[in-house]
């Protein structure tokens, strides 16, 4: 699957209009239902190559849920702001560290 292409499993005749938030392949067990001993094999079935599409689906799920409904509120913007603050805090943490007020922490 390259850029701008549909997933290989997507068949418009069966699935209808393409929903970017949906996974059209064969669903695996949800991570919440995986037993501790099976985590290894579960992770083994995942691949790095599937990560971009997974992120894209997550983004679209968020869009459909918070951003695109008709009567959406301020929540998605707050979420974006909080996310941005956290992200920039994390990437700047090595510099912010020098502003600590206390030498010892318990």
């Amino acid at each position: 699957m390259g850029f701008g292409e549909y997933p290989a499993e997507y068949n418009p005749k069966v699935h209808g209009p393409f929903d970017p938030a949906r996974f059209y392949g064969k669903p695996d067990i949800p991570f919440g239902e995986v037993k501790l001993g099976e985590v290894g094999s579960w992770l083994g079935r995942r691949s790095i190559g599937g990560l971009p599409s997974a992120l894209s689906r997550a983004f679209w799920r968020w869009q459909h849920k918070y951003m695109l409904p008709k009567k959406t509120g301020i929540a998605p913007f707050c979420q974006l702001a909080i996310g941005a603050v956290t992200f920039f805090y994390v990437i700047n943490y090595s510099k912010l560290k020098h502003h600590r007020n206390h030498k010892y922490h318990w």
Binding site: P12, Y66, H99, N101
Partner: protein, 248 residues
């Protein structure tokens, strides 16, 4: 070569186009293998997902509820914040207080103006949607009206067929009249010619007869000699004398 390339790209683009067309939700071109149960047509929700405190999804609290009860997630948040603060992972430098100030202002603004802005925006959205819905509705109505008009004109055209029949009959009558006129014309013309022929024949025989008579009479007259005339005259006298009464 470029044109061929363009043609090829067009051919490649075609199946995609067909694919898009077959995904249409209209009943007409819905394919038989379409799985509506597992893959229903996506619908735009009206209300967004529920959140608490402006940004935390409701699901987060539901996830905590069976294990910790209602206060669990809040306690988790407070505990996490306490941990971050006490270990100074969350460093309280000058920007932190700026952040708190901004947060207070935002919360105040949302509490104060949120409802009004939301109502205004909802109204705007309803208006935009109303324009499109009205456009669609009026399109459907006008097309329906056009169909009605078309049906009416078809009905009128059916009425025209009666009129056409009457016109056809009229023309047939006219044709019949003209035909009969011509027939009479032909008859009279033929009769005239035949009469002429008859008259001609009659005249011919009359003149022939007359001529014959004249000729015979003339030739008889010329054949009478003066001697014959005299003898005939003498005979006449004799006859007259014989006829005359004896006693006179």
């Amino acid at each position: 070569m470029l044109s061929r390339l363009a043609l090829r790209s067009l051919q490649e683009a075609k199946p995609v186009l067909l694919g898009i067309r077959s995904t249409s939700s209209t009943a007409v071109n819905k394919s038989s293998e379409r799985d509506e149960v597992n893959f229903p047509h996506p619908v735009r929700p009206i209300e967004p997902g529920k959140v608490r405190m402006g940004f935390i999804p409701e699901e987060w609290f539901k996830f905590f509820y069976p294990k910790t009860g209602v206060t669990g997630p809040y306690m988790f948040g407070i505990g996490l914040t306490t941990y971050l603060c006490s270990k100074e992972i969350l460093v309280m430098e000058h920007e932190f207080y700026t952040g708190i100030t901004i947060l207070i202002m935002v919360v105040f603004a949302v509490k104060k103006f949120g409802k009004g802005v939301a109502a205004y925006l909802d109204k705007e959205i309803d208006e935009i949607e109303g324009v499109w819905v009205n456009y669609r509705k009026s399109s459907i109505d006008s097309i329906k009206k056009a169909i009605e008009e078309e049906k009416k004109s078809q009905w009128e055209a059916q009425g025209q067929s009666i009129l056409f029949d009457a016109k056809r009959e009229n023309i047939a009558i006219q044709l019949e009249t003209a035909y009969r006129e011509r027939l009479a014309n032909v008859q009279s013309e033929v009769k005239k010619r035949l009469d002429y022929q008859l008259e001609m024949a009659n005249v011919k025989t009359r003149i022939e007869q007359k001529h014959m008579v004249d000729w015979i009479v003339n030739s008889v007259r010329t054949a009478i000699t003066p001697a014959q005339e005299a003898a005939a005259l003498k005979q006449c006298f004799a006859d007259l004398k014989a006829l005359a009464p004896k006693d006179a």
